[in-house]
Symmetry: C2
Subunit: 318 residues, 2 copies
């Protein structure tokens, strides 16, 4: 039948088909001054020229895997490659696959399937001017417009963060109408290129869920850290104030999460307080028991997303 014939043809003359491009995009998150930031690049060429976008690029066919492409893009856009210190910094980055996005209209040029990755990085130096990373910069996620450009069945499913359909068929590649200010300060949020707002939103959801069950919050910190620093990571990613005492005891009670170094910080807190003991990441790869997010009994209504969809399931429906 014709599916089989297509397979056969694809095997021996792939160029006979309508081509598909594969790109890799990276949602790279870090903490700066206690706030969550994401790495963005300013597009030098159309489409979406001048708009901010997730760092990414085309997969080098036949030469690299998806994981390798993502690591390469991250290193290029942060300028972290070449030097020994850069490699050392890179070695602490956590990089995992987030999901693939493949609606035909997501890139006006052609059908582009993008494999998105999620990176957790400690506070890195600003991308250097004069390098290929000159057009890259860290942005606070609160300054970005995370509303997807088009309505979609899977959009705005903040609850289903344990995996789920992310392809988003019904989304539109058209830029949304000018957004009203969302920031408390009244600043107009930055609109991202392509469907990158959606990808970023999915990445943030994944990050929020991930630090519940995995020790990856430590990937936002340097090798040695204090419990209050770790708490700051959780507070920034979850956007929740946590109880210092309970958090402290809870972290220490999870086997393999952190390991004491036996020493303390040189100074106390900026506004007073005793010196904190330092720790480094333990050998656990899963937290048991997990650090569950506080149950937000007050699901503060977001005027931008009128109502959360009743079901985030990706069930096939007519």
């Amino acid at each position: 039948m014709d599916t089989t014939e297509q397979e056969w043809l694809a095997a021996y003359d792939p160029r006979a088909f309508t081509p598909v491009a594969v790109t890799v995009d990276v949602v790279a998150l870090t903490l700066r001054h206690g706030r969550l930031h994401v790495l963005l690049v300013e597009r030098a060429l159309p489409p979406y020229q001048g708009r901010w976008a997730l760092p990414g690029g085309f997969l080098r066919a036949g030469e690299e895997s998806l994981d390798e492409a993502a690591a390469r893009e991250f290193a290029e856009e942060t300028g972290l490659h070449g030097t020994v210190e850069a490699e050392a910094a890179l070695s602490r980055i956590h990089l995992e696959q987030l999901g693939s996005y493949g609606i035909p209209e997501r890139d006006p040029r052609m059908h582009v399937v993008s494999v998105a990755y999620l990176a957790f990085a400690p506070d890195l130096p600003d991308p250097q001017a004069g390098t290929d990373a000159a057009h890259a910069a860290w942005h606070p996620v609160t300054a970005l417009d995370l509303r997807p450009a088009g309505r979609s069945e899977t959009a705005g499913a903040p609850a289903d963060t344990h995996g789920g359909g992310v392809d988003g068929r019904t989304g539109s590649a058209e830029p949304s109408e000018p957004a009203e200010p969302l920031e408390p300060g009244g600043l107009t949020p930055i609109e991202l290129a392509f469907d990158h707002a959606r990808i970023l939103a999915d990445g943030l959801d994944r990050a929020r869920a991930k630090i519940e069950y995995s020790p990856l919050a430590t990937a936002f910190l340097h090798h040695d850290f204090t419990i209050p620093e770790l708490r700051a990571v959780y507070e920034a990613v979850w956007d929740e104030k946590l109880h210092p005492g309970n958090f402290h005891r809870k972290v220490l009670s999870v086997p393999g999460f952190v390991e004491g170094t036996g020493s303390t910080t040189d100074r106390g807190g900026a506004r007073g307080g005793p010196r904190a003991r330092t720790y480094h990441a333990g050998d656990a790869c899963l937290l048991h028991p997990a650090l569950l997010r506080p149950t937000r009994s007050d699901p503060r209504p977001d005027p931008a997303t009128p109502a959360p969809p009743p079901s985030a399931r990706t069930t096939i429906r007519p």
Copy 2:
């Protein structure tokens, strides 16, 4: 910069590049006679001719999204398309994206990036002979060899089921050496084509984690079901015996998980016992609190996977 130039070229003459193909593969799970089964197709053509593989096929560039391609492949291979009853059955299938696999060597023909999907289906009729699904069949997962063909940094990471790198760079596309029998009965496990053993293993891990936090176990059952039937789903997916009494009370205590219908089954259990009340899925899309797997304090050592990797993190390492 040559990356930028490549982008420009790709925009206007994608065929100038080494091509990449995009396929969609589906890990379709169902419960038959209390055991977990997966849908496989026998390959009619090389490579891996005659071997069993996950159902899948090439993305129709410019015509469909990844989600749509996965739904199409699933419908084609189960023979569930066309008729009204088939569409009704399809409407109850849960389909979500699992991950993308893209090492250059995973298909001997060319660089093929495969986007894998995970499907939960109620007990479906056998694929019909005489249709395009004639070469498809449900197989018990216990009859399959799940050991990845090659060692890989992310392979055998059973713990990290909340997302993570799945691309598997260091894997090999070579078929592994003949497997020793793993089945209790001494049957030789079936080896799958390509890296499908790895994809299937990842799908099983995802399924096991997913039913903890989502009500998707109900997607394995028909519209109305009993609590013991739901328990059978959990026992099959987790491969764990669960305490009937505690399970029953726990399920009913999770708001929105199940909703009583007010009636009971027509007959009692096959081996006696009262009639069970029937329920249908509630409107919750996330289980709060979750149904956590029993903490297996006895991590029975698997001779095939010598030692679980100390860390399942996908951290970039030199």
